[in-house]
Amino acid sequence: MGGRDEDGPDLVQARALIRVQLRIALATAAAVLAVLAGLPPLLGLVPALGRARLYGVPPVWAALALGVQPLWVAISVRHLRRAERAERDVPRPADPS
């Protein structure tokens, strides 16, 4: 932990990165909330889904038990990519781009 207060990094650069990362994080959170808020009405509003059977399994059931988790995996992989790219794009002192 030592040494962090003596010669800090470029604070302007840091502020820009924080803004970018916050935007990425909020986009990810919005995607999660959209799924969580949108799914119940969707399932509730289509009563035909409650009666239908796919291989003996109600589709609502299958959607909740199996359908959402892959969506989460995709969202987290997308977030990881974007957050790492944002970090890579910070100009390094070594290359003056």
Binding site: R4, G8, P9, Q13, P58, W61, L64, Q69, A83, R92
Partner: protein, 569 residues
């Protein structure tokens, strides 16, 4: 035979734990080894350990039982849990790892420069850990009781003894190996029987669990009622009774349980013929299959509020779990911590396929659990019910092994988190000795409370722990990492209000009650009210004390967010 299989499984898990623990812990000498395994853990290994730590008694035993009793509403729990890891990935992991602190209390003190906030955080960590340990002990008790008939305290003793030995001997270093391997043990233990049971269901003709009828016994079933309880018969039900029903002693004669409520005495044997409807435990809803398979199928009072509040508690609570957060400190850098967090949803998704399956099959093959209310036993009993003879016993052993792996890995993680946080707070009294004292402290408190709280569903207890975390540590982390204006008084006020109210709700629900109507809904699921309040108090109090923003806040924010190679560390 199932008893033998369960005992062999327990011995195998303990043996594996001992070998891995000794192997991993043989080099643990310094405080850094004990707390963060000297920061040398790679993303895959750490993601397995984190998933293992998170898949506790609640996920392994609890989810299936809740699905069995309440239906589709409970499928939201796994969905919320994985969603919590996405938020953790998005808002917390990389910056928290870059802070370089050992524990979340260290982080709070470093970011806000206040010993007082540190002490409050330490209290929150203790309460979250204790609420989380209770269901692990209870789950171990239930597992041993259901499978071998041992008294419940035998299960408690096993988990406490293992955690004590393992954590005190090697700390984080020995439990990382144990937990990472135990994730895969749990996955196999839950997946292999599930595939076998699914095949049995198809061979059996595949009854529809969502059919428009109340659950009934698929074949003649004997039910042993241990402690007195009230049941609701959804229809007139023929039964043979040896024991007490509605205050009248019976010695094996047939009678009919009229539709309505009945009192069953302690130590009563009930024998139901094939096709009889299942009387439901008084606290469980009677639902036809089609309502059960539908979300918001009116399984509970105030189902909509309860579902969303639980979702919020699980999601935000996952972001603030001290034992999970501590695991990210074991990664080598912020980048590898973030990669670890991104792997976890995939691992959890693999596991969460199965509990819902057990709950669904349980409704067809082990409906007597609805009568006894022993929901946590669903996964443990199904293999014996569906597969007779030796194969059934082997599958039972496998499931039991997974269950013990679940109790042990979660308990160890929590004990390390509490002991680490407490011992860091009293650091001047000496490193490893203080850590070992903290281990005893972490285990003693829940053990003292356990005999007083009676039977509780594992998942409900864990939700209480998650709720405390959602209302205290989650706002602290999110605001501390993303908002430079957070002040020590603001954080302290928010932690006291949010954490205090959530702990109070949990304690009231555990020791008093039962409640009904809105008080019950608010006490069981307070997160939707308290978590926003906690955020609001933190922000408002920080704005009011604006002059107390730490002078080095900007520098601290830069340190948290810039990649390691960019600042001069």
């Amino acid at each position: 035979m199932a008893v033998a299989a369960a005992l062999v499984a327990l011995a195998a898990v303990l043996g594996m734990t001992a070998v891995l623990g000794l192997y991993g812990g043989r080099a643990a000498r310094t405080t850094s080894d004990f707390l963060v395994a000297s920061r040398g853990v790679g993303p895959w290994w750490n993601a397995s350990a984190i998933s293992s730590e998170y898949l506790s008694a609640a996920a392994y035993l609890g989810t299936a039982g809740l699905v069995l009793a309440y239906g589709a509403d409970m499928l939201w729990l796994p969905i919320g849990a994985t969603a919590g890891y996405i938020l953790l990935l998005a808002f917390v992991t990389a910056p928290l790892r870059r802070s370089g602190a050992y524990t979340i209390a260290d982080f709070a003190e470093w970011r806000l420069g206040s010993r007082t906030v540190r002490r409050i955080v330490t209290c929150c960590v203790c309460f979250i850990g204790w609420f989380y340990l209770l269901p692990q002990f209870q789950g171990a008790g239930v597992t041993l009781r259901v499978l071998t008939g041992a008294p419940v305290w035998a299960g408690w003793a096993v988990v406490v003894a293992v955690a004590l030995v393992l954590v005190a001997s090697g700390g984080m270093r020995s439990i990382t190996a144990v937990q990472a391997v135990q994730f895969w043990v749990k996955l196999v233990a839950v997946a292999v029987p599930a595939v076998a049971l699914l095949a049995m269901w198809r061979l059996d003709g595949g009854d529809d669990p969502a059919a428009r009828s109340v659950p009934h016994f698929g074949h003649a079933t004997r039910v042993h009622v241990r402690t007195a309880l009230t049941v609701t018969a959804p229809a007139d039900t023929p039964v043979t009774v040896r024991g007490t029903v509605d205050g009248v002693h019976r010695s094996g004669e047939p009678l009919t349980l009229r539709k309505g409520s009945h009192r069953i005495g302690a130590d009563t044997n009930l024998a139901f013929p094939s096709g009889a409807t299942v009387p439901h435990h008084g606290r469980l809803p009677v639902q036809k299959g089609d309502a059960w398979a539908r979300p918001f199928g009116l399984g509970q009072e105030h189902a909509l509020y309860g579902t969303y509040s639980t979702l919020l508690a699980v999601m935000l609570g996952t972001m603030g779990l001290p034992h999970i957060l501590m695991r990210f400190y074991t990664n080598t850098s912020g980048r590898s911590a973030r990669r670890t967090a991104a792997l976890v949803p995939g691992l959890l998704a693999l596991f969460y396929v199965f509990p819902a399956l057990y709950g669904t099959l349980g409704r067809l093959y082990a409906p007597e659990l609805l009568t006894t209310g022993d929901l946590d036993a669903t996964i443990l009993l199904l293999p014996q019910r569906m597969v007779p003879g030796l194969p059934g016993a082997l599958l039972t052993g496998l499931v039991a092994a997974g269950a013990f792996a679940a109790f042990i890995s979660t308990s160890c993680g929590i004990v390390v988190a509490i002991a680490g946080t407490v011992s860091q707070s009293v650091r001047r009294y000496g490193g490893i000795a203080a850590f070992r004292a903290g281990v005893v402290f972490a285990l003693a408190a829940p053990l003292a409370v356990l005999p007083k709280i009676g039977a509780q569903d594992a998942a409900n207890l864990v939700t209480t722990a998650l709720c405390v975390s959602a209302c205290s540590l989650c706002p602290l982390l999110v605001l501390g990492i993303w908002w430079r204006g957070l002040t020590a008084p603001g954080a302290g006020a928010g932690l006291l209000v949010g954490g205090g109210l959530a702990v109070a709700a949990g304690v009231v629900r555990l020791f008093y009650g039962p409640w009904s109507g809105w008080p019950a809904a608010l006490l069981a699921h307070p997160a939707l009210v308290i978590a926003p309040a906690s955020f609001a108090v933190m922000v408002a109090a920080s704005l009011l004390t604006r002059r107390r923003v730490p002078r080095r806040a900007d520098r601290a924010m830069a340190w948290l967010h810039l990649p390691e190679d960019l600042d001069n560390r």
